[in-house]
Symmetry: C2
Subunit: 376 residues, 2 copies
C-alpha cells in the first residue's frame, strides 16, 4: 500500500507508568497501581512539537484509529479521517490516539491483572470517571514531550473526554473538536446505560463480575449491545436500511427472527461479546453517566483560556441530540470563546460521526488549518 | 362514591365461546379451542343499540378501563376518560372494554390451560396477530347483540386494533378514534420489541417458556419492561421528572443505582413482573411487530365505508411519532374519508395518551357527540 492511499501498517504501542504521579489519584479517591495506556501515532512530531493532535475514541473504540494491523483487512475506526491528505492530514500533523482506561483494548481495565492478587481486577477495579481517563492521557502527552496540543478531537464519549481536557488542562490546548456529544449525560442517556448494565448483571454467567476463566456473560452483554445499536441509529436510517423486509418470504409465526432488523441486531449483539469485556461495559457506561460539566464546570477556574472550539452535531442523532451541542455553544458564547457550531444534515443518527466523512472532513480540515496557521 | 364522581365499583366479566365459529381460525392457520374474553361494560345499552363504544387497551393493559374493583384504591387505566360527564360519557353511551387474547388478564393466552394437555399452553399457544384479537372482539360484540358500534377507540396497541376493526369490519362502524398509533410497526419499533423478547428468553428462568409452577423469568422480564419504560417517556419528560437528581447526596462509586431515574426504572421493572406474564410479553409484542395495514390494506375491499375518523398524536411521542398518525391521515385523505387529525402539544412522550386528559376529553367528547347526532 502506498503512502498516498493511507497510513499503511500500524502497531499499537503501550506506555506504562509504574509509579503513578500524585495527580493520578482517581476521582473516587482510590489509587491504581501501575497504569498502562495503549496508543497509536500517525505522522511525525515536528521540531517545535507544535503539530500534535490527540484523538479520543467512543465507548467501544480503541487506540487503532487508522491504518491496518499486519495481515488484517479492516482499517482503524476513523481511517477515513486520518491519513495523508485526509482531514487529520498525517503529512502535516502528528496524530495520537489513546485508548481509555477502564476498557479492554490494551489500557488498564477490569480485565487487567491486579498486581496485588495476580488475578484480573474484576469488580475490585475502582470506578473511574472521564476525568480519570483524561488524567492518564495527560501522562501520555507528557511522556511524548508535548507541551501544547494543536487540537483534541473525538465523538460521543470521545467528545466528553475532549470537553474534560478543556476543564482539566486548558493551558495545554490550542483548539478542541467535540463531536456528537454533551456537557452532561441526560436522564434518558443514563437510563439506556442502566438497562444495559442490568442486562449484563442479570446474566448468571456474569458471576458478580468474576467470570474470567469461565467465559463472558454473553447473552446479557449481547442484549446490552442490541439496545445500544438501536440508539446509535435513527428511525429514518433503520427505515432506509431495513424497512419491514423479512429474512424469508413469509412470517415464521414463531419467535425466530422474522425481520432483517432483528437478524442485524442479533448478529451485532453476538459479535460484540467476542471483542468487548462485559465488566468494561459496566465501568465505561458508569463513567459516562457520572460525566457532568454543565453549569460552569467546563471552565472551573472561571477563565476560558485561549482555545478555539469546533462543535459538530448531526440532525438525526437522538442519542446525543443537537440541542446538547447547542448547550456547549451557549456556554462558550456566554464567555466569548472563539467557537463554531455546525449541525450536519444526516439521517444516520448517532453513527453519523463515523459515517459523514465528507462533511466532517471539510469542516475539520479547514478548522485545523486555520488553527495551525494562527499558532505559527 | 356517588355516580357523579365516577362509575363506582365494577366487575370484570367473561365471555367464553366453547365452539369457536369458522372465522376464528387464526391468521397463522391454527385454531384455538374454547376462547375466553375478559371485558367490562359501563353505562347502559339504549333501546336501538346505537350508543355502544368499544375501547381497546395498550400492550400491558386490561379490560379494567374505569371504576374501581371492590376494595381497591386504584381505578381502571382510563378512568379519567370514562364515566358520567367524562369524555366517554356513561350517562349517554354504553362503553365496552375488551381485553385482548394472548395476554394474561383474563382472556385466553399462553398462561391459560390448554384443554388438550391440562397444562398452561406456554409456547404451544399459537402466534396471534392484531387481526386475531379483533376477530375475537367481533364475537363479543355479536354476543352483546350490537350491530353497529358508535365508535371504537384506543391508544398505542389499542389504536392498532382500532385500525384493524376498520380493515376487518368496516360495515360495523360509525366512527373510530386511533390514538398515538401507526399503520405498521417500523423497524425501530420492531427492534425495541425484539430486544425485550431477547431479554426475556435469555433469562434461564424462562425455561423455554415452561416456567409455570417455577416462577417467572423475573430479571429478563424486568429488563424488557425497563426498555419499554424509556420508550414510553420522552427526553423532555425524563429531564422534567428526574434531571440528574441523585438518590443519595453523593455518587456511590459502585454499580448500585445512583440516579433517581435508575431507581425508577428498577422499581417499575420489578413491579411489572408481579402483574404480567413473560410469555404474554413475547406473544403480544410479536402481534404488534406483524401489524401492517400500510399500502391500501386499511381498506382491503377498496371501498372506504362511511366511517368518521379522529386521529390523535402527541408532539413528544417518539415511540409512535406524529408522522405515523399523519400517514394514517394521508391514507384517509386520498380516499376522501371524513377525518380529523389533532397533534396535542405535550412533553409526556408516548405516555401522553394516558395523561393528557383535558385535551383528549375535549376532542373526543365533541367528536362522539357529533357522530351520535349524525347517527340519529
Amino acid at each position: 500500500m502506498s503512502e498516498k492511499e493511507g497510513i499503511g501498517i500500524v502497531k499499537t504501542q503501550y506506555f506504562t507508568f509504574a509509579e503513578p504521579p500524585q495527580d493520578i489519584k482517581l476521582v473516587c479517591g482510590q489509587k491504581l497501581g501501575a497504569i498502562t495506556v495503549a496508543y497509536e501515532t500517525y505522522g511525525r512530531l515536528n521540531a517545535d512539537k507544535s503539530n500534535a493532535i490527540l484523538l479520543l475514541h467512543a465507548f467501544s473504540g480503541d487506540a487503532h484509529a487508522a491504518g491496518y494491523y499486519e495481515g488484517e483487512d479492516k482499517p482503524g475506526w476513523w481511517d477515513a479521517m486520518v491519513g495523508p491528505g485526509k482531514a487529520f492530514d498525517t503529512t502535516k500533523y502528528f496524530v495520537i490516539c489513546s485508548n481509555c482506561i477502564g476498557g479492554c483494548k490494551g489500557s488498564t481495565g477490569p480485565s487487567s491483572i491486579n498486581p496485588k492478587t495476580g488475578k484480573p481486577y474484576a469488580l475490585e477495579f475502582p470506578i473511574i470517571t472521564i476525568a480519570d481517563m483524561v488524567n492518564v492521557q495527560k501522562q501520555l502527552i507528557d511522556y511524548l514531550g508535548i507541551k501544547k496540543l494543536l487540537s483534541v478531537a473525538g465523538g460521543s464519549m470521545g467528545g466528553m473526554q475532549v470537553l474534560q481536557w478543556v476543564a482539566s488542562y486548558p493551558q495545554l490546548l490550542r483548539s478542541v473538536i467535540p463531536i456528537a456529544t454533551t456537557l452532561k449525560h441526560s436522564p434518558q442517556q443514563i437510563a439506556f446505560d442502566e438497562v444495559g448494565r442490568q442486562a449484563v448483571m442479570a446474566d448468571p454467567d456474569w458471576r458478580n463480575g468474576n467470570y474470567y476463566g469461565y467465559g463472558q456473560p454473553e447473552r446479557g452483554l449481547a442484549i446490552a449491545r442490541m439496545i445500544g445499536h438501536i440508539t446509535y441509529m435513527s428511525d429514518e436510517s433503520m427505515e432506509e436500511k431495513f424497512s419491514r423486509r423479512l429474512k424469508d418470504d413469509n412470517y415464521s409465526f414463531s419467535f425466530e427472527s422474522d425481520f432483517e432488523v432483528e437478524g442485524y441486531l442479533r448478529y451485532h449483539g453476538d459479535s460484540f461479546v467476542k471483542r468487548f469485556d462485559a465488566n468494561s461495559y459496566l465501568y465505561i457506561t458508569k463513567a459516562m453517566d457520572y460525566f457532568d460539566l454543565s453549569n460552569g464546570k467546563l471552565f472551573p477556574s472561571g477563565t476560558t483560556a485561549d482555545i478555539r472550539f469546533l462543535v459538530i452535531a448531526f440532525r438525526s442523532d437522538w442519542l446525543y441530540p443537537p440541542y446538547q451541542s447547542k448547550e456547549i455553544i451557549h456556554e462558550l458564547k456566554m464567555r466569548h470563546v472563539d467557537s463554531t457550531y455546525c449541525e450536519i444534515e444526516s439521517t444516520y443518527g448517532h453513527d453519523a460521526f463515523l459515517l459523514e466523512i465528507e462533511e466532517e472532513s471539510h469542516l475539520i480540515r479547514h478548522f485545523l488549518n486555520a488553527t495551525y496557521e494562527q499558532a505559527k
